[in-house]
Amino acid sequence: MTTNKTTFSEIYSKSDAQARADDIRIFKLELDRLLAEGALELSTAQIDAISSHHSSLLSRYSTVFDIDTNSKSKQLSLGMKVASFLGALALAASVFFMFFQFWGMFTTATQVTILVLGSIISFTATLLIQAKDGTGYFTKLSAMVAFTCFVLNIVMLGQIFNITPSDKALIPFAAYAFLLAYFCDLRLLLAAGIICVIAFVSARTGTWGGMYWLDFGERPENFFPAALLLFFAPTLFHDKQHPDFAPIYRVFGLLTLLLPVLVLSNWGAGSYLHFNHETIESIYQVIGFLVSAAVVWLGVKRGQSDVINTGVTFFVIFLYTKFFDWWWDLMPKYLFFLVIGLFAILILFVLRRLRVTESA
């Protein structure tokens, strides 16, 4: 990923700093090649000035943002990201199951005290860890535990006191997840918050349609308002300090739109529409093709690879689903898969052509 930001003061986030560091590393490699091939001549003073400037920038980025300055540390960072992601999920699961293992032995007062204190202590611990942790990996672990403790706090209160389940509980869950995500710069918590928003908006849409809120999944169209909200959120609220968050919003928005369309293109009985089910499925199949093609076009126009990839993936899924409907029973299996393979090659040619056009 490259960046157009040129001065230190224009770098707001770790991802911007990392992108600039990667540009510097690639620039150094190419400059060495050009000098060796005689395509470029620079004086020693000029080379030293560039080298000194880059060293100074990398040193400041490393101190402020804890970035990877070479390819080996980048590979290690990838390993740390995977480890912290899995560790965060495992710790959250551990807290969840530990609570269930022991909580039945405590009195009600003790249970409530443990729940509330658990939320407060885990949240405070996240703040303290974030202050010391330059890498962000330990902060992710702690933030995930804090989020789990808060969700447990509310859910277990509901079980202890037999409270009627309500979709309104999703509002504080989302608020808490977004707070942790934005302060600690954590995409995992952002995803958790987005999932809560999707559930709440879809449940509300369902209740406005007259159904019980927990049944919102029975009508996949309930997800459409949440999908539009998420997809256009980064356009409406541009956030320079978290450039990595916009793709998360967009991808979740597209998944929330296209997955229900895919479901309805095969299951017309779940629609609010009062037509024959086969007609509904045909309508949604056409919508699926058109929307995923439009998403690819939009992604190409805006230069958003996450949008392009999601659009292409769903276009292919809709296409293959259609092929299955038409030909699975008609063709021998080897021929069916041969046709699928040939279409995949065709799509590759189309995408290569698109890439060449964009490069030009």
Binding site: M105, F123, I154, F183, G210, E218, G270
Partner: protein
């Protein structure tokens, strides 16, 4: 501490505090004053669900039944998720609960042409009657149709809590069923379904009563600590109160192995 950290800390603590406060206010409101109803139930009306090994919390689940449309199903069902269709939840009753008549009519047509879809549920108030006229009528019908000894014994162990009515107006239902020791009114979900009788017809079913589990606090369990040990308990009495928000809590729990 920097300003942003202070803001983060205060905002997070505020979210935790406000959410818990709202929950506690709701709990207090539900339990304040006289309960809306109090039922003295037994192991016939309360089931201790299977609890997985890593969960030592203990709760009971309400077991309720409905007077079914077809008499032959009376001896079949046992658990709270009885999906048989109450004979009083007719198409007219569904319309009084706000279901659309054209939608109900179209359901039969959809069933006939094989394109039956999922009907939408609706939240209403359900009236549960404990050991009242509906239960006695069901008993008469069962024994009138003739049952063997095993079936008779099973029926003696089944729930006396019967769902007898539904409505959208809580106050109107309470006015019709004023005895708060015999009638509990809870929130539940109904949905239309098709039945095969002499002709295809639409009736309703009670798909769920969401708040039907009641936690047993540890100080009420006596020597029974876990759901596994409570599973050995064959007889008990429990007094359950339903508050202003129609949420239940346990007033008394008396085990008995007699």
């Amino acid at each position: 501490m920097t300003k942003s950290r202070r803001t983060f800390l205060l905002t997070g603590l505020a979210v935790i505090a406000i959410t818990n406060l709202i929950a506690f206010v709701g709990i207090a409101y539900n339990r304040i004053g006289e309960p809306d109803s109090t039922l003295n139930l037994s192991e016939r009306e309360l089931r201790i669900p299977y609890s997985w090994r890593e969960n030592n919390s203990v709760s009971m689940e309400l077991k309720w039944r409905v007077p079914p449309n077809k008499i032959s199903t009376l001896t079949d069902r046992e658990y709270a998720w009885d999906f048989s269709v109450p004979k009083w939840l007719t198409k007219q009753k569904l319309m009084s609960l706000g279901f659309d008549e054209p939608m109900l009519n179209s359901m039969v047509g959809e069933l006939m042409n094989g394109s039956y879809g999922i009907a939408q549920s609706k939240q209403v108030f359900i009236v549960l009657e404990l050991n009242g006229p509906a239960y006695r009528e069901m008993q008469e019908q069962i024994f009138k149709q003739g049952v063997n000894q095993d079936q008779a014994k099973r029926e003696e162990e089944r729930s006396r809590l019967i769902a007898i009515d539904a409505g959208l107006d809580f106050d109107a239902l309470r006015a019709n069923y004023p005895d708060r020791k015999q009638y509990a009114i809870l929130r539940g979900n109904v949905k239309p379904t098709t039945v095969y009788s002499k002709q295809q017809d639409v009736m309703g079913m009670i798909s769920s009563i969401p708040v039907s589990q009641v936690n047993i606090p540890v100080d009420m369990r006596g020597s029974y600590i876990s759901s596994e040990s409570l599973g050995d308990l064959h007889k008990f009495q429990a007094s359950i109160a339903f508050g202003k928000r129609l949420e239940p809590w346990l007033l008394a729990f008396t085990p008995s192995n007699n």
